[in-house]
């Protein structure tokens, strides 16, 4: 009931009485069976342009609207000490003025023509999203072409935007215990790889990145050959490709960015961290060294995590929440990226809850699945949930654009999206047992405890420093 999203929409949602919207069906004309998905997506077309920009179009004329997603292969993974958080800050700067459309104009013109936009940054990617009526298609191209070619950096705007990002950090990390703990666990789990950096950046770095950092970022990572442009909705591939030729193909390509070479060394023993904060509810997070998006075990791991933590019938929920009443909520989470990322098992405890006991119970359940695997009924259930999730990921032009972009970016080919049901169908119980043994080893995990204290700690200076200076 009180579980909240940190997406910007949460504020708006919270202004209204929450209304649960039933999940809606995918619009694909197909049967929900792995064998019948060939037809699905048969009208998707893609083209790679002279400057290396790849464009994917999935027409769907149910509503007179279009979604554009522009995926750039840059995130906090591409950062280093001193510029942590820069990818995210840059994302903010992409809305702050270029040549034809000055500061504030990008949003003002887009909204005056019926469009809305947003963007997000993760460890691996930065994604820009526009949602607009098809009548605004040509104008959207003009807006995007302007910022992709001629982004400008006004020192005053940079300083003001630092304040915005500070505020974002205070809300999403400093005043949110779950995320504050996650930040610490992730920073402890990786000793070498840049996945150790929080996407929003360390406070001192938010203060110190410079104009030249931004300019270098723009040239290196915002090149047409480092992005993928996805369109879904009321457009035809022909008209989109013609507009790309006109507005975007002239943008020159750049040498490819330096690859991220660091590989996290093998973890050879459990790591533990404790975060003490004024709170009533203890929190537990277990983060196991995981795998990359292209790993052959990703599907097996997804199904396994489903059985462990998805829904009221899942193993961890049954054991910890219903039977032992040791936790109020247990969840599993894994978001695969370019490099091996963490597999999370998290638990929210009631006030005065026993962290050691919850940790022992989860550890025991994970050991049980390593030893004995799962039942056939559990595998069937997980397959059904995954299949339904697949259909739901295609239910709107917006979620379709995300799904296409993610498949192209992380798996190397958008067509992989439509093969997902077949890939899940092939996974066996033995695969699940093996992947459990591969991942759930205590020596390859980092344990985070949030231990409530009675006293409010002195505010960190970074968080209260006047960002305006």
């Amino acid at each position: 009931m009180f579980r909240q999203s940190l997406l910007w929409t949460s504020c708006l949602t919270l202004l209204a009485a929450p209304a649960a919207i039933a999940q809606a069906p995918a619009k694909a004309a197909a049967q929900p069976a792995a064998t019948s998905t060939q037809k699905l997506g048969s009208n998707v077309e893609s083209r790679t342009f002279k400057n290396g920009l790849k464009v994917i179009v999935w027409p769907d004329h149910d509503i007179p609207n279009v979604t554009l997603n522009n995926w750039f292969r840059v995130g906090s993974r591409n950062e280093y000490p001193g510029i942590t958080g820069l990818s995210h800050f840059f994302e903010h700067m992409m809305f702050n003025g270029a040549k034809k459309y000055g500061p504030g104009e990008f949003d003002r013109v887009m909204e005056a023509n019926g469009g809305a936009n947003n963007a997000f940054t993760s460890e691996d990617v930065t994604v820009y999203q526009d949602w607009f009526p098809r009548t605004a298609l040509d104008l959207i191209f003009q807006l995007e072409a302007d910022r992709l070619q001629f982004l400008s950096f006004d020192p005053k705007v940079i300083e003001s935007e630092r304040g915005v990002v500070y505020s974002e950090r205070r809300s999403s990390v400093d005043n949110n215990n779950m995320v504050a703990l996650m930040e610490q666990v992730q920073a402890t789990a990786f000793v070498a790889h840049p996945y150790q950096f929080p996407v929003i950046g360390w406070p001192s770095d938010i203060e110190s990145w410079r104009m030249e950092d931004l300019q270098r970022y723009f040239k290196t990572y915002y090149a047409p050959n480092n992005g993928t442009l996805v369109f879904t909705g009321a457009v035809t591939p022909a008209e989109v490709f013609a507009l790309v030729e006109k507005y975007l193909e002239p943008i020159p390509s750049q040498p490819p960015p330096e690859p991220v070479r660091t590989k996290e060394p093998e973890q050879q023993g459990e790591r533990r961290i404790v975060l003490q904060k004024l709170a009533q509810s203890p929190l537990l997070q277990l983060a196991y060294q995981g795998m990359a998006a292209k790993d052959a075990d990703v599907e097996a791991l997804t199904l396994l995590l489903n059985i462990l933590g998805d829904g009221d019938s899942s193993r961890l929920h049954r054991r910890l929440v219903e039977e032992e009443r040791a936790a109020i909520n247990v969840a599993t989470y894994f978001s695969p990226g370019f490099d091996p990322s963490l597999v999370w098992v998290t638990a929210d405890l009631p006030p005065k809850g026993n962290l050691a006991r919850v940790e022992a119970l989860i550890t025991e359940e994970l050991a049980r699945v390593v030893k004995s695997g799962v039942t056939e009924a559990e595998l069937t259930k997980a397959r059904n949930i995954t299949l339904a999730t697949f259909w739901r990921s295609l239910e709107t032009i917006n979620t379709r654009a995300y799904a296409l972009g993610a498949a192209e970016t992380f798996r190397g080919d958008y067509r992989q999206l439509f093969e997902a049901p077949a890939r899940y169908e092939r996974v066996t119980r033995e695969d699940l047992r093996k992947v459990a043994a591969r991942i759930f080893a205590t020596q390859r995990r980092t344990v985070g405890w949030l231990v409530p204290t009675e006293e409010a700690a002195a505010s960190p200076t970074a968080a209260t420093k006047d960002a305006k200076r």
């Binding site: 069906p25 019938s313 009443r325």
Partner: protein, 486 residues
């Protein structure tokens, strides 16, 4: 496969957004470069049936996909929570899916999860909602589970005890989390103090432990029944066949023993009041400022939508432009109207670091006063119209959205023109209409209710500047100050 974005993705990767694509700058309004799309959205015409017990069914076939979505609304909701028993409707709703018919809680969850379906129950202020989606091959199971939970819930004592404890713990966990999740509950409790619209729907740490099985059984007997049900189903089914199945499964559901709860009308409050909620470790102040707004069936609701959009409903709104874009004081500032049978809350909301609380609050109040005085110019109005028209179609893109809207319209006795006539109503709105509506729906600056969640030691003195202050702690086990403090 990469999962679609979910709240978990957001939290686990600390996914960061540039903020809302939200309204209109004062500096240099832009005339639309393209003719705004007036291509509206039409609501599909449902087959409508009323069963002998008064239950209403609205069915829409969408045969292109092998899925079925439904949205059931049962009139009553938290309005029927007795004083001191806040959260009773929410607890009842939660328990509906924790054992019903021949299945205990575990078997019920397994039946839903096993076929990859979704099924959720929740309480709202004026209704209980059951929403879900099943593959069409499982339509018989869908009817069985839905009718079991509505007509044959078990309300097992051990499930009740567990759920009650968990609901209280979730409130506590939310208080340790992002204050954005709770500020609206504090605001409504304070604004509608003494009125049913002030009821914290999820209950409070003080009220939840007092809820007994007897309370739940009484609520179910008095507030749940066939005569209270509106059920909309959209998707891949044969109407005649499904209507027969649903009729057989739900037609015998007894009527509720009591008449549906009626709340007295809500009104705009006079004068200024401040509630300060002390969160000693906060590094930011979160504030909501507002009063009582409009009802769902307000004749001017489309114009109000335009008014709210320009003030705080989109990224280039007046509030977000001043507080975020121009001054960097916050990550976001917004405003909105929540609408029920009677007027709900009108709220402006933002947050800023503790040290700039005064600056941000004064800026928001200044934006508000200027907007009330000057309203919109032509370019602003044209921009707002284009924006709400352009963003409207995705609101009714999926079967689930359509099912929910059908039930909602039936609940408030509104007809399809709410959707079908939306584009025309937007196009018709004039500057004169806007001025009239601003005058009627936005309270005078001297009639504002303030809720501040933050570090009281730092902002206690400042809070007095905005009106008489009532203070409470975030750790207090309720959302309203203790009666002695009022």
């Amino acid at each position: 496969m990469i999962a679609p974005l979910s709240w978990k993705t957001v939290i686990a990767t600390v996914l960061l957004s540039s903020g809302p694509a939200l309204a209109q700058s004062v500096a240099k309004p832009t005339q639309p470069a393209t003719a705004p799309s007036t291509q509206g959205v039409t609501l599909p015409k449902p087959t409508t049936l009323t069963l002998a017990n008064g239950a209403r069914l609205l069915l829409v076939e969408r045969r292109d996909v092998p899925l079925i979505s439904f949205s059931a609304w049962v009139r009553g909701g938290a309005l029927a929570d007795p004083a001191g028993k806040e959260g009773l409707a929410a607890l009842t709703a939660e328990l509906l899916q924790r054992g019903a018919g021949s299945r205990d809680a575990r078997q019920f969850a397994e039946a839903v999860d096993g076929v990859g379906a979704t099924l959720k129950t929740h309480a709202d202020l004026e209704h209980l909602a059951v929403t879900g989606q099943f593959m069409s091959r499982d339509s018989a199971l869908m009817v069985e589970l839905l009718s079991d939970l509505l007509t044959r819930p078990r309300f097992a004592q051990d499930e009740l005890k567990k759920t009650r404890e968990r609901m209280a713990s979730e409130i506590i966990a939310a208080k340790d989390g992002d204050p954005r999740a709770l500020i609206n509950t504090y605001f409504e409790a304070f604004q509608f103090s003494g009125h049913p619209y002030g009821t914290p729907v999820g209950g409070t740490e003080a009220s939840l432990p007092t809820l007994s099985r007897k309370d739940v059984l009484a609520y179910a007997k008095n507030q749940l029944g066939g005569d209270r049900l509106i059920l909309s189903v959209v998707g891949d089914f044969d109407t005649k066949e499904l209507a027969e199945k649903l009729g057989a499964a739900l037609g015998g559901w007894a009527k509720a023993a009591s008449p549906a709860p009626q709340a007295p009308v809500t009104t705009v409050t006079k004068g200024r009041r401040v509630l300060l909620v002390d969160k000693p470790d906060a590094t930011q102040t979160y504030f909501s400022v507002g009063n009582t707004g409009i009802s769902r069936s307000d004749a001017d609701r489309v114009t109000v939508d335009l008014v709210g959009t320009v003030l705080g409903g989109r990224f280039t709104s007046l509030l977000n432009t001043e507080l975020r874009v121009k001054s960097g004081l916050t990550y976001g500032a917004r405003a909105g109207f929540s609408q029920s049978t009677h007027p709900g809350a009108f709220v402006m909301f933002s947050f800023t670091q503790t040290e700039t609380t005064e600056k941000a609050l004064d800026m928001a109040l200044d934006v508000y006063s200027r907007y009330r005085k000057s309203g919109m110019d032509d370019a602003m109005l044209a921009s707002a119209k284009a924006y709400v028209l352009g963003q409207f179609p995705p609101e009714l893109e999926t079967g689930g959205q359509v099912a929910n809207r059908l039930s909602e319209l039936a609940f408030y006795s509104l007809d399809a023109s709410d959707v079908d006539g939306f584009a025309a109503a937007v196009s018709r709105a004039t500057r004169a209409d806007v001025s009239t509506v601003i005058g009627r729906t936005l309270p005078a600056p001297e009639d504002l209710t303030f809720v501040l969640i933050g570090k009281a030691a730092s902002i206690r003195e400042l809070a007095r500047k905005y009106g008489p202050v009532t203070e409470m702690k975030i750790s207090d086990k309720r959302f309203t100050p203790a009666p002695s403090q009022r």
